[in-house]
């Protein structure tokens, strides 16, 4: 009996050595800057308004509290996903809007998005955000980053 069990354990050890031989994920920081990357999706050119549109900000905040709150903090601290502080500095507005509206495609093919996934050990689910609301959330993120 014992010897059988031991051999099972030995086998599992072997299995692990094989499995872990592939190397571990890279330690890329969440804030790798990729401002040029516009991501994948319909947004090629997003017009930013100066000063901020406060109406959009408050709609964006509503979306945030309803749909994003559970996974994103407004500080730099990671929850399920990265904290939103500084997100508008490290990502292009187009990237953010594409990511929010086209999450699954981005996570499957965009390099930055995939790196984020490795760091977070989680996958952001598609949130069914409309184009208009994605823009509102972007405005809210800009406000959170102290833009004007």
């Amino acid at each position: 009996m014992r010897s059988k069990i031991l051999s099972v354990i030995a086998l599992s050890t072997l299995f692990l050595i094989v499995k872990c031989g592939n190397g571990s994920p890279p330690d890329t920081a969440v804030n790798t800057s990729t401002k040029e990357d516009k991501g994948i999706g319909q947004f090629k050119d997003v017009n930013l308004t100066h000063p901020l549109d406060e109406g959009m900000v408050s709609k964006g905040e509503g979306i945030y509290k309803a749909q994003c709150f559970a996974c994103h903090k407004l500080t730099t601290e990671k929850l399920v996903g990265p904290g939103w502080k500084g997100v508008t500095d490290r990502r292009a507005p187009e990237w953010i809007m594409n990511f929010v509206t086209n999450t699954n495609v981005m996570l499957d093919s965009d390099l930055v998005a995939q790196q984020l996934m490795v760091i977070c050990v989680a996958r952001m689910p598609n949130q069914n955000v409309s184009n208009e609301n994605a823009r509102n959330v972007l405005e809210f993120m800009r406000k959170n980053d102290g833009k004007n």
Binding site: S12, K19, K65, Q67, K78, R123
Partner: protein, 428 residues
């Protein structure tokens, strides 16, 4: 192992640890705790809840009830398996929160999975020799088979992370298949095996037939209903058909359960009020779960649910806490592991159970709010409070168990616990 309830005590300790991790997770949403990685801790929390609490408790009860040796003690290899489970889950507790999945934690979780394989093999070997009804054998064997099958999930995920190919479809399928086989397979079937072993002989023979048919439907629904979590994202015709038949089988088992329920009502009077309270809640949670599960067949429900984190959390905790955990507590109470003659124990059980209800109410409200794009600053705080409530409840239950532990209890109590434990009949 002289004391069969030793493992139950350890599993209750583990339940307490699960609630501690839960409180830290909920704190992370409202306080700055940059030192803690949320997802690592979340993985540790769920690992520990699955492995350290429910798996250990269910295995210990199943061996006690179905496969213990003639002398009443545990057969030789089981303590070895239980120690392996206990040590590997604690190993994960000390590795996963800090480093996530690395070589060491992968190694430990593989050992954990192998321990479950060894358990399943021993258990199936032994249960064939036990004198049990065909219903109980069907349920318990199917339960451990699901346990073994579910391990495909973690292995697939490990592979995906190792190769950095986090393909959308595979990732989610691996995760949901694992959850399905654990929740609707291993946990649910084991719970009904334990329940029916206690009550089947007390039911009239017509009801026993319904119990068997219900069990058969339940078991046969498991594999097809697994496709409910695939079908809404990728409509291949074959997957659709399997998912539909899964949904129908789940519905049928729900209907048959109503017959079983009617028969069980006759036993209702013979149990104490606190166990009635727990039993009613646990069974309601099971029925709600079954009902909701069969409804994910509709695409729009699937889409709403699978993207809405609070709803997923609400559903997971409904099954895990509402159905399985409350059942386990009721079982402990009925068999004397928790002595409900003591006011303190009843108080502990009620506090913990109300915590489960509050937690559910909050998560569902938050999830339904999210569907209507409504939100509130209050939720993270309220959820934090619910976390502390559950923590306090689990601590009280732990204290109640320590007070009632055989080493500390007086002799008469000891005798009583033993008796009620080994007798297959319901004792009042």
């Amino acid at each position: 192992m002289k004391n069969k309830n030793f493992w139950i005590s350890l599993s209750l300790l583990n339940l307490f640890i699960v609630t501690v991790l839960g409180v830290i997770l909920r704190s992370k949403a409202v306080f700055d705790l940059p030192a803690i990685d949320y997802n690592h801790l979340l993985n540790a929390h769920s690992h520990f809840a699955f492995g350290g609490w429910v798996t250990l408790a269910l295995m210990a009860l199943m061996v006690n009830a179905f496969a213990s040796s003639k002398g009443g003690g545990l057969r030789k290899p089981y303590p070895f398996v239980f120690w392996s489970i206990f040590i590997t889950t604690w190993g994960l507790l000390f590795t996963v929160p800090f480093s996530g999945y690395n070589t060491l934690s992968n190694y430990i979780s593989t050992l954990f999975i192998f321990a479950t394989y060894i358990f399943s093999w021993l258990f199936i070997r032994d249960i064939r020799k036990a004198k049990l009804s065909k219903t109980v054998i069907l349920l318990s064997v199917a339960s451990v088979i699901c346990l073994v099958l579910s391990s495909v999930g973690p292995f697939t995920l490990a592979y995906l992370f190792a190769t950095k190919s986090l393909n959308a479809v595979l990732y989610r399928d691996a995760l949901f298949s694992y959850l399905h086989l654990q929740y609707n397979g291993f946990f649910t079937l084991a719970v009904f095996a334990l329940l029916f072993q206690k009550i089947e002989s007390k039911l009239p023979s017509s009801a026993q037939k319904n119990v068997y048919r219900f069990s058969l439907l339940l078991v046969s629904s498991i594999l097809p209903s697994m496709f409910l979590s695939y079908h809404w994202q990728d409509p291949g015709i074959l997957i659709h058909i399997i998912a539909y038949s899964g949904s129908i089988l789940v519905m049928l088992s729900f209907i048959w359960f109503l017959f079983v329920l009617r028969a069980m009502m006759q036993l209702y009077r013979s149990i104490s009020p606190i166990i009635r309270f727990l039993g009613v809640l646990s069974i309601s949670a099971f029925m709600l779960k079954t009902f909701l599960q069969s409804f994910t067949i509709f695409n729009f429900v699937g889409n709403l649910v699978f993207g809405d984190r609070p709803v997923i959390m609400a559903f997971l905790h409904l099954v895990f806490l509402g159905f399985v955990t409350i059942f386990l507590l009721a079982y402990f109470a009925q068999t004397g592991v928790l002595n409900t003659e003591k006011t303190f124990t009843r108080f502990a059980l009620v506090v913990f159970t109300l915590g489960i209800l509050v937690n559910e109410a909050l998560l569902w409200t938050q999830g339904i709010d999210a569907m209507f794009i409504q939100g509130s600053d209050l939720f993270p705080w309220l959820l934090w409070g619910a976390g502390i409530w559950l923590f306090a409840g689990a601590a009280l239950i732990g204290i109640a168990r320590i007070k009632n532990a055989p080493g500390l209890a007086n002799e008469t109590q000891k005798g009583k616990i033993k008796d009620s434990y080994s007798s297959p009949a319901l004792d009042v």
